[in-house]
């Protein structure tokens, strides 16, 4: 099954990736070539096989419900593109 240009645009939107208009045909072609490789999976009989998500089949470790992090807002905001008064700045979202 080959992706159409409109589907590629939709995937890019879902992934919040801005694509250049001119790159879309090439991107579509390459994605279809990768999906062609991936589609080889469909020939494998996996009926009744339990999916493996973690190589050691470990489950999430739990810890005591206590504070174990200190506030590092200043250190983290020092490397942000735009901050003011301890807040991250983004374009206006509410008109």
């Amino acid at each position: 099954m080959a992706l159409e240009r409109s589907e590629v645009e939709k995937i890019a939107h879902l992934a919040r990736l801005g694509l250049n208009e001119g790159d879309i045909p090439q991107t579509t072609e390459t994605l279809n070539s990768i999906l062609g490789l991936i589609d080889q999976m469909q020939a494998v009989d996996t009926q009744g096989i339990e999916p493996l998500a973690h190589p050691l089949e470990a489950t999430q470790r739990l810890r005591a419900d206590v504070v174990n992090e200190s506030n590092q807002r200043d250190a983290y905001q020092a490397i942000a593109p735009a901050v003011e008064s301890g807040l991250y700045l983004v374009p206006k979202v509410i008109e």
Binding site: I11, A15, G18, I38, M41, A53, I79, P91
Partner: protein, 483 residues
């Protein structure tokens, strides 16, 4: 001094033949002189290195004598280093000075290593040629018109060129073993969960593992011993004691059972590589090993499964790069959506965008079962193959790569052709078992690697086999001309 291994450096420092500061100065001068040919470093941390070297010398003067005290290393640029640019080879992390050290960085610092800098890599570790870096491709010191492999290509090129004795790397589908093979080094990907992933920028979280690249198995044992161990900050870290890898090296190989999977010697393998690999097998037999033909039938499905699982995890992991909290932000965003889309569109390179899109598609409504669940089922089949094989053999041996290092740019037009180069390495990541690559000779002046795969937590056995082989072979001592 640049020819010394970590083990030799430890002896030289202990015997006061040279100081850590002298060693670092000498290597920093070498990096300045030779790295322009290779582009293996993204950042050279000269001031930090000299400060750490002086501190190591002071600790030795005060009576400390641990083997890595004063040992010069460098980190793949996806390990976060406090106050130092951590780029992951990407434009999107422009100006990102990590606010903390990765656990691996912290552990090696505590052991007394001296950090010479941060090493080039494929962007977000996505690649097998080190050509997708925003900071330009890395060249292979054995032939600078060829790729060093990837994604830990900077680590491999720098160590192979004797710019430093060892480096850290990470391996999601072969990114330590494949560049080690293409540059004549020894590198080990540990069992999943053995080395903490905390502070290691994630590509595919269920596959990523950090590990060392060095010129000998002994040096890998030394470094891995310091890197490995439980870390409460990594939710997938395994809480079990770390073996004494150095002690494991000396074990004789008599009785070692080696499995040779027929799938590793079939179509697609450069026959000259196959011959070198079989010559290693003959040597190991002389050391007392026995050989058994085995089969790993699900291996043929590994690449398609990997290129679902890894991109799916990447699409989720890389959603954190949004142009808001750190790194690159586009100019004059008109609204929040525009900020996200243009920051990510301009900040990520082509291969990263491709993998994010493949992953987004595989995880999207209506396709989840057909792609992601199917890939995870194949993942279990691959694991089952190994579980069955390790009932009869101690290690599995084969080539690390199907081909020699290729020319820069040769596989850029068709990403799928580069994906196929990972065929022998990715099964270890899918199953979570440890894998090691070591030098096995040369074809047309280019290095060949042999891969050893072991059962879970058998890193010591792999290092042992490699070390014993390196006692009766000289391949690992060869130095590229001009370096």
């Amino acid at each position: 001094m640049h020819q010394l291994t970590l083990a030799e450096i430890a002896r030289g420092l202990a015997d006061k033949q040279f100081s850590a500061e002298e060693l670092s100065l000498s290597l920093l001068a070498r990096i300045a002189q030779l790295d322009p040919q290779l582009n293996s470093f993204i950042t050279v941390t000269e001031d930090l290195a000299l400060e750490q070297a002086k501190a190591a010398d002071a600790r030795r003067a005060a009576g400390e004598n641990s083997p890595l005290l004063g040992a010069p290393i460098a980190h793949k640029d996806l390990f976060c280093t406090n106050g130092v640019l951590t780029s992951c080879g990407s434009k999107i992390l422009t100006g990102f000075k990590a606010p903390y050290d990765a656990t691996v960085v912290e552990k090696l610092k505590t052991a007394g290593t001296v950090t010479l800098g941060k090493l080039n890599m494929d962007e977000f570790a996505m690649g097998s040629a080190n050509e997708s870096s925003h900071y330009g491709p890395v060249k292979n010191p054995w032939d600078t018109s060829r790729v060093p492999g990837g994604s830990s290509g900077g680590s491999a090129a720098a160590v192979a060129a004797r710019l430093l004795p060892a480096a850290t790397g990470t391996d999601t589908g072969g990114s330590i073993r494949q560049p080690a093979a293409l540059t004549n080094l020894t590198g080990i990907k540990p069992t999943y969960g053995r080395v903490s992933r905390w502070g290691m920028i994630a590509y595919a979280s269920s596959l990523d593992q950090g590990g060392p690249l060095a010129r000998t198995a002994e040096d890998c044992a030394l470094l891995l011993g310091a890197m490995a161990g439980f870390d409460s900050k990594d939710s997938t870290s395994v809480d079990q004691p770390v073996d004494d890898y150095l002690a494991a090296l000396a074990q004789p190989l008599a009785g070692l059972r080696i499995g040779l999977p027929k799938e590793y010697f079939g179509a697609g393998l450069d026959a000259r590589i196959g011959e070198k690999v079989m010559a290693v097998v003959e040597e190991l037999k002389k050391l007392g090993a026995t050989v058994k033909d085995i089969s790993l039938p699900s291996m043929q499905h590994a690449i398609p499964a990997y290129y679902v699982i890894a991109p799916a995890e990447a699409s989720s992991n890389l959603s954190r790069f949004d142009g808001v909290r750190f790194g690159y932000r586009c100019e004059n965003p008109k609204d929040l959506q525009d900020l996200y889309k243009r920051s990510r569109g301009e900040g990520f390179g082509a291969e990263v965008k491709r993998r994010i899109m493949v992953g987004t598609y595989a995880l999207s409504a209506g396709y989840y079962d057909a792609y992601y669940i199917k890939a995870q089922q194949i993942r279990r089949l691959i694991k089952n193959d190994f579980v069955a094989a390790f009932k009869d053999v101690d290690v599995i041996l084969g080539p690390t790569t199907p081909n020699l290092a290729w020319k820069l740019g040769e596989k850029n037009a068709d990403p799928v052709s580069a994906y196929l180069e990972d065929i022998y390495t990715i099964t270890a990541n899918l199953a979570g078992i440890p894998g090691l690559s070591m030098p096995a000779g040369f074809v047309d002046g280019l290095p060949v690697g042999v891969q050893l795969l072991g059962n879970y937590f058998q890193e010591g056995r792999l290092l042992n086999v490699a070390h014993q082989y390196q006692q009766v072979s000289d391949w690992h001592k060869a130095t590229p001309a001009g370096f």
